[in-house]
Symmetry: C2
Subunit: 329 residues, 2 copies
């Protein structure tokens, strides 16, 4: 049987702790050489593009892909297809629009667990969009956060964000008028912006950094997208990324840091290495640390698996039967 999960079903089946745990499992599996993630595939159309990102997780028992397309002027749709890796049965088709933002948050949560101080209590958040919400939720899942200061350029947006997310996360959230106010005294800085088209696309400057801060950034996933300056890379003593090859290829922030000569690839490690003890982590309370992500298919499939399990538990979705014939070979 194939379970179809629409946006509402997926929304109900997303549990941040389960997403984090499932992605950690997938990354550890990848670290052990038991996963398989080829280069993602992009195809352009007259007005947009289609991207297909397959992956195989032999131990988690799943394979499949995320497919998403952006049609210029309209928007994007995200689909995750999840197969049983042993018998090839299509287990689920699910809307992955909100889930993509949630898994980005969950991945930041893993980076936060690994790099931030355990006693972190204050978050400085730059950005108030969907990703700001999911990333903050994940940070609050892994650390006992008691105060969030949020900045975004439109006062109404940061105020609505503070109101809505304070209720959801049961945490004090204060909207502030400048990014400096948001990040000053923060233990954790979260940068989740879409500032690509602005005159100054840099949303966070390394000169604002304070001893002991952990910075996460997920808003520079294309060469033209920016949010961190090179100084941030220069001052970070530990850097983790989700996928080194993709971050170095795709992130405009990393490209600028490379140009400025402050990005040393040899001291940048991947999340999966950190999860199996193969990356240096924070060694003092005063160290500045950085986590940078662009997303990959293991995060998608592993979070899709968590959603599928929860949806089964809650009897969500529409069972459309086994609509594909098995062709014996």
């Amino acid at each position: 049987m194939t379970l179809v999960l629409n946006a509402h079903d997926v929304d109900q089946a997303i549990k941040m702790p389960a997403l984090i745990a499932s992605i950690e499992d997938g990354l550890r599996e990848d670290a052990r050489g038991r996963a398989n993630v080829p280069q993602r595939l992009n195809v352009t159309t007259d007005s947009g593009w289609l991207r297909v990102m397959p992956a195989v997780l032999n131990e988690s028992g799943i394979m499949g892909f995320k497919a998403f397309q952006i049609m210029g002027g309209l928007g994007a749709r995200y689909l995750i297809a999840l197969y049983d890796v042993k018998d090839g049965v299509l287990l689920a088709l699910m809307d992955a629009s909100y889930l993509t933002a949630a898994r980005t948050g969950a991945t930041t949560g893993i980076g936060t667990k690994l790099l931030s101080r355990e006693d972190s209590r204050k978050v400085g958040l730059i950005g108030s969009g969907l990703e700001a919400r999911t990333n903050l939720e994940a940070i609050c899942t892994v650390r006992d956060i008691q105060l969030v200061r949020v900045f975004s350029t439109t006062p109404e947006k940061r105020e609505a964000f503070a109101r809505e997310m304070a209720a959801k996360l049961e945490t004090e959230i204060v909207p502030v008028a400048t990014p400096q106010e948001a990040v000053a005294e923060a233990d954790i800085v979260m940068v989740a912006t879409n500032t690509g088209g602005r005159p100054d696309p840099v949303a966070f400057h390394g000169e604002w950094l304070q001893a002991g801060q952990h910075v996460s950034s997920m808003g520079s996933t294309m060469p033209r997208q920016r949010e961190l300056d090179p100084e941030t890379f220069a001052r970070a003593e530990r850097i983790l990324v989700d996928s080194k090859a993709q971050v170095e290829e795709e992130s405009g922030d990393v490209h600028e840091a490379m140009k400025a000569g402050v990005y040393d690839s040899d001291r940048v490690y991947e999340l999966k290495q950190a999860l199996v003890g193969e990356a240096p982590l924070r060694s003092s309370a005063g160290q500045i640390t950085l986590f940078k992500s662009v997303g990959n298919a293991i995060q998608d499939l592993a979070s899709g698996l968590a959603v599928y399990r929860e949806a089964q538990r809650l009897s969500l979705g529409q069972d459309i039967g086994d609509f594909m014939d098995l062709k014996t070979v």
Copy 2:
């Protein structure tokens, strides 16, 4: 809305003439530079593999992919996802197991129209599996075939094939005990085998060729698969393939012909070139011609579009609504 078409729905919605016409449209579009087909993507699992083949047809108005996986010892499942290229809506998800065999046949039909003599009446068929059926059906769609002689190694299979397909195609079909008997006096030779594991994997030998014959072959889509010998390539005066890069990379028959020094890439043209008048075709009744295919995503999507249209006309399938949210960007 997304229409889910199971194997039975697709079976009812497959009309060979419509498949042929739709694939021709797609190939012409590709020839005009209006389609986009990246390299297919393979991911291995512990016991099999997953392949994703995306394509965009801007003028036909669709994009999407075929995804199929082969799990060792079990079998394969095929899925086609069809999107509207303009607004990105997922139009259909369909079982593509039988459809894959049907589109392979339809593609052979196009090659047959382009290369075989118009007055072809007799087919010599080697093979009696699913692809032998769909390829013969396509040949009978484009030519007025009056006699088919079929050979395959198991007498029961060739007899069942003759009985069943004679009823379906309303054509005389005679099972014969040797491949030579099948192809002697044939105007069109169709080789559709799966002889990879046999001591002699070559099912058709070039020394059997007669003046004026057109040969089609679709059973060597991996380096280890064989069905034609190099002599066939040496004697063919016109050669068309569906995708030159893929045929040269994937077909064991072509690899052997290359090794034997009888495969001249410069005189091999693609079906799409032939459809827009950019390939030399048969110029005399006595010429020997060859069509060789390995399949590509344009054939899949174009045939998926034909099936989708017919399914709509016949009100087939299960409408599962618009389960993916549009994320405005």
